[in-house]
């Protein structure tokens, strides 16, 4: 092994001082023996590099190490945030439900006020009805062409109610029928509107309540929203509502 051969490995490892580097390069260029030696050493280096990359850790081991060496601070956010996020979502859901219910309540209050106003304006009007008739077969056809829907009216001959007449009423910019009935001295308005004009289900399916001392009953039937309102007793209001419900089923 001459002085050049000794330096070849260090030269190929890139560790030879710059001053010696040039000398070795020049010698190798002119010496066929050293050129062949350099070539075989480079091949050996590459072969060791390739062969040396022999073992790979298993996926299980990688997972195990990751779990063991992960500092708690890295796992803690996961453990804190998941319950926190769940709680936040729950809170949001509850709040939304509450807000939606409240909005429905307000919308419902608003509708009942409108209905009460319509009823009162009918009572106060000098011409409370546009079609005066006690005959349902006269009143119902009168609405033809005035409303985008039709409805059935009950037979009243076995009841205490009398049909006085009807007129077109507007609620939430939607036309509907207002039918005026009388029982004893009380006048009762029965309103029929398209249910989809009433907003997103603000009223529920069926409801009986008092609003501004009027008794009101409201329900949904055949996609129509019915309101029966008057100062008559709750029992009378309910009876009229039942008659209208039965008629609507025919």
């Amino acid at each position: 092994m001459d002085q050049w051969t000794e330096k070849l490995d260090v030269y190929l490892d890139g560790e030879l001082p710059a001053s010696e580097m040039t000398a070795v390069q020049e010698h190798v260029r002119g010496c066929s023996g050293c050129t062949a030696d350099v070539l075989s050493r480079v091949q050996m280096k590459r072969a060791i590099q390739s062969a040396g990359q022999r073992y790979s850790p298993s996926a299980e081991f990688r997972q195990r190490i990751r779990q063991q060496i992960s500092p708690p601070s890295q796992r803690a956010p996961w453990r804190i945030w998941v319950p926190a996020a769940s709680f936040a979502i729950l809170l949001l859901f509850v709040s939304l439900t509450f807000v939606t219910m409240r909005q429905r309540q307000i919308a419902s209050q608003h509708l009942y006020s409108e209905i009460a106003d319509l009823h009162v304006s009918m009572l106060a009007s000098a011409n409370p009805v546009d079609v005066i008739s006690t005959d349902r077969h006269t009143v119902k056809p009168w609405f033809q062409g005035k409303l985008p829907f039709t409805f059935n009216l009950p037979e009243l001959k076995d009841s205490d109610f009398t049909l006085i007449g009807g007129r077109v009423a507007y609620l939430e910019q939607s036309p509907g029928a207002e039918l005026i009935y009388q029982i004893r001295k009380h006048q009762i308005s029965a309103f029929i509107f398209q249910d989809r004009a009433m907003g997103s289900g603000a009223l529920g399916d069926s409801l009986a309540r008092r609003h501004a001392t009027f008794n009101v009953e409201s329900w949904n039937q055949n996609n129509l929203r019915y309101f029966v309102i008057g100062d008559a007793g709750a029992k009378d209001i309910q009876n009229l509502a039942n008659l209208l419900k039965q008629a609507a089923q025919q």
């Binding site: 490995d9 050996m44 072969a47 060791i48 590099q49 790979s56 081991f61």
Partner: protein, 161 residues
Amino acid sequence: MPLFEQLYNFAHWLAQDRAEAEDLVQETYVKALRGFSSFQPGTNFRAWMYRILRNTFLTSRTGLKNAATVALDADDAAELPAGHESPETILIDNSRRELLQDALGEIPAHYREILLLCEVEEMSYRDIAETLSVPIGTVMSRLSRARQTLRAVLTQKTLRG
């Protein structure tokens, strides 16, 4: 996890056993985490990690056994006779990769580790010196002897095969 693949490969070469290599890597990470405050920024992180791994190996049962059978100060021993054969030429063929791996497995552990640090990890002599806690002169002489020994083993294997 920094250096995970490389550290495992190195550990497996040292220990020559999967389970033991896993223990070594695991212990290395635990020690590195525990002793991270002792790591000086600006110094070589990779060399620091390899040094932990290697020291862990040296104090393991296999490491102690190695130390008992191999004279680590053999670096200054007389040069081996240089082989005139060129076993490198047969290594061009990738199918001989296994032959080289066998040879690497057979040479003494302190030769194997320095060859891996130099060729596979492509560490500078300075980083190798830091990893092995030896002077650069020792790195150079040990590397030279490791290469000669590997060539000798390969030549034997080639002649036998």
